[in-house]
């Protein structure tokens, strides 16, 4: 079996999932890995559920992560963690933004979500990154970057913070660097 590193990011449209995807894929590309990603645009972006995939390693075929094969899952909203669950196995690190936006349909409590995730893995980290970003940076669009910094700190990603910083600088206009670097360091001083 190919030992690729598989990342699933779930969230709602407008949370900056694709920016995060660009940064991670650039960092892994810079490191010499083969990379494939898959993302969704369009109607789903208007506040609806969105999942994106990033896969890197020696040779990546499918742009989609096979079920139960994610190494790392980032849920940018806690109910969206449920949409990542089918990609989890017992070794998966699951990082959840303990923050809720209404679904406008059926919803779940954090406890219900956590009980579900525990069925797959006990490597769960739930932090209200949105609250921290709002308080410290007055900005919630960079919540994914804060989660990425946290993931690196917890050793859940095979990329280093310096590699991510390089990728931020290569993929974003300079005026956004400071904010994103602050976010990256917010939960991993």
């Amino acid at each position: 079996m190919l030992k690729n590193f598989n990342i699933v990011i779930t969230g709602v449209g407008g949370q900056g999932l694709i920016t995060l995807l660009d940064v991670i894929s650039r960092a892994s590309f810079n490191k010499g890995f083969d990379v494939k990603t898959s993302e969704l645009h369009g109607l789903s972006q208007r506040g609806g559920s969105v999942s994106v995939y990033i896969r890197f390693g020696k040779k990546v075929y499918s742009p989609m992560v096979p079920k139960a094969q994610a190494n790392l899952i980032l849920a940018l909203e806690f109910q969206e963690a449920l949409n990542g669950l089918e990609f989890a196995n017992k070794n998966t690190v699951f990082i959840i933004n303990n923050y809720q936006t209404p679904t406008l349909a059926e919803s779940a409590s954090f406890k219900q979500v956590e009980d579900n995730i525990k069925l797959a893995t006990d490597k769960i980290f739930a932090v209200n990154f949105s609250e921290i970003c709002a308080k410290e940076l007055d900005n919630q669009v960079v919540v994914g970057m804060a989660m990425l910094g946290f993931a690196i700190e917890k050793g859940a990603l095979t990329l280093t913070k310096q590699e991510i910083i390089e990728a931020i600088k290569e993929t974003m206009p300079e005026k956004f660097w400071e904010l994103n670097l602050k976010a990256l360091n917010l939960c991993s001083p």
Partner: protein
């Protein structure tokens, strides 16, 4: 990324759509026309930004048929052309596309059509544009990844130049919206825009009886291209022919990547034939591939076009061949590594059954009108509609951000079908019943396909109310410009097309232009008045998209 598109060499991480653009630029592209639609929207969005630097003529045409015709004119005049659209756009363009196949191209021309299996960002239908390839005799290539998006686009331009025929690149969402490192080739240094239309009635006038000769010529071109396809390296065989098992897989597009993933996961070793050509098929190559096989799996998304062709070919070379396809893979929805692995496993008499934990309840955030300030103007509009519309009113939806009003909490529309159909179908309902009808359409969609429907309602006196939601942009696909905005396709100032002038010219007597945020009560009163008037009426609810206003204020 977009900033890497004009890099001179090296590797860059490109989206499938961006890789098509790079392939076209490396081929010396001169003329591009498109109408936005996901998953093809980035083609236009990107050219909007880079056309000047890339020295390419670019336009957002008013709809896909118009875009196709623009490219036909440019191709007839000798320019190298690209026209891009989503699957439903190809339907709109097909009226001119089919005769374009008869005339052929003069300047090499590539058609990009992007399908959306699983309907991630498409209402209306899970369309498979490969049907058009067969119906229109359109040479069609199917890339599986971003590198192939670039390479196949270049090949498509070469084929078009060699055989004087437009060539289609068919993408799906997982190819168009896939990113990977792409090896960049050389960008041509200089090119001119100036073509010349040289009169040639025999070639460009499809009147009978000449049109039948053209049909013959088209079929001959396809035969010639088929010979080319037999030798083409984009139809490639890989894997080991295992003498004992004699198993094979034939696949194309992104399904190939899922097959290779599945093969790795299962540890099996089938022979794999990856088809880059969908139409015409390299039949001899396929025959040679299937002849020694015992079993073959046809891995393709949606309808079993390949499967049916291969069943036909097997009859002559290997009638005992066991063909697996839609009996083990889904015909509805997209393929992924997992459902493909299930199919590949069945070919080998195995099962694929990883330990997958599914949530006890499946949740989905529904798309919604944007919040924050300035907010989406549709919140107020739909509140007014609900307040004003008489009991039993039939509500007709259309294609754009306002589709979201079909979902909770609004749950408004009684039907929602295709571009411009809100008013068209509303007219039929109105004529067939005694019910009130309110149809909705956005500014972009009205200009794309709404005008004939409204004219029909006036002319044949159905008396519906059409609400034109004018948020001054083509919002859903990414805020592209349209003719009502006072900006050209390359951002220059131009006199805007005034929607109210069009409405007046169609002899609509009841017309009101209302800002729903500023004059909410007037909107409620006007809806009541117009819907009860018995006349075909129009309200233009004019207020700029909140997201756009937010961005413009910031910048």
């Amino acid at each position: 990324m977009i900033q890497d598109l004009l890099k001179s060499s090296g590797k860059a991480i490109l989206l499938g759509n961006e890789a098509v653009i790079r392939g076209a630029l490396e081929s010396g592209l001169q003329f591009v026309a498109t109408y936005p639609g996901t998953p093809a929207s980035e083609i236009g969005n990107t050219f909007y930004k880079i056309a000047k630097d890339a020295n390419v003529y670019f336009e957002f045409s008013t709809n896909e048929k118009v875009a196709m015709e623009a490219v036909m004119g440019a191709s007839y005049s000798g320019l190298k052309c690209l026209v891009a659209m989503k699957n439903f756009g190809l339907n709109v363009a097909s009226d001119s596309l089919l005769p374009f196949m008869y005339t052929g191209s003069k300047g090499p021309t590539v058609i990009l059509a992007a399908d959306d299996p699983e309907c991630h960002s498409s209402a209306q239908s899970e369309e498979n544009s490969r049907g058009f390839s067969c119906m229109g005799h359109i040479p069609t290539l199917e890339p599986s990844d971003a590198q192939e998006c670039k390479d196949f686009t270049k090949l498509a331009f070469q084929l078009s130049a060699k055989f004087k025929i437009p060539v289609m690149i068919r993408l799906t969402t997982r190819v168009a919206h896939q990113k990977m490192p792409v090896v960049l080739g050389v960008l041509p240094k200089s090119k001119t825009f100036l073509g010349k239309f040289v009169r040639n009635q025999k070639r460009f006038v499809t009147m009978p009886p000449r049109v039948l000769e053209m049909h013959e010529e088209l079929l001959q071109k396809i035969k010639d291209i088929q010979k080319y396809a037999e030798k083409s390296t984009i139809n490639q065989e890989s894997g080991i022919r295992n003498q004992e098992s004699r198993m094979g897989v034939i696949t194309s597009g992104v399904a190939y990547l899922h097959v290779m993933e599945a093969v790795e996961m299962l540890g099996v070793k089938p022979a794999v034939l990856k088809l880059g050509f969908f139409y015409p098929l390299p039949e001899e190559k396929i025959k040679k591939f299937i002849k020694p096989l015992k079993k073959v799996l046809i891995a393709e998304e949606l309808d079993p076009y390949l499967e049916k062709e291969i069943e036909r070919l097997a009859k002559s070379v290997n009638p005992k061949l066991q063909i697996f396809g839609k009996n083990v893979l889904p015909e509805v929805g997209e393929l992924n590594p997992d459902n493909t692995a299930i199919g590949v496993a069945k070919l080998f008499g195995k099962t694929y059954n990883p330990k997958i934990i599914y949530p006890t309840k499946k949740l989905k955030h529904l798309p919604r009108f944007c919040t924050g300030w300035p907010t989406c103007p549709y919140w107020k509009l739909y509140a007014a509609v609900k307040q004003a519309a008489p009991e039993g009113t039939v509500f007709g939806g259309d294609i754009g951000c306002y589709m979201i009003a079909a979902l909770p909490p609004h749950s408004l529309y009684d039907y929602l079908i295709s571009m411009g159909s809100g008013v068209g179908i509303g007219h039929g309902v109105k004529k067939a019943t005694k019910q009130k009808v309110i149809a909705f359409i956005g500014d972009g969609t009205f200009l794309h396909a709404g005008i004939p429907g409204l004219m029909n309602s006036v002319y044949n006196k159905s008396g519906l109310l059409l609400i034109i939601l004018d948020n001054s942009t083509t919002a859903m696909t990414g805020h592209q410009v349209n003719p009502s905005m006072g900006k050209t396709s390359t951002g220059e100032d131009i006199a805007p097309v005034k929607i109210e002038n069009i409405v007046k010219a169609l002899n609509v007597k009841n017309l009101a232009i209302i800002d729903q945020e500023e004059n909410y009560n007037q909107l409620v009163a006007t809806i009541k008045e117009f819907v009860n008037s018995g006349e075909t009426s129009v309200i233009i609810a004019r207020r700029v998209c909140g997201l756009l206003a937010k961005r413009q204020n910031k910048i």
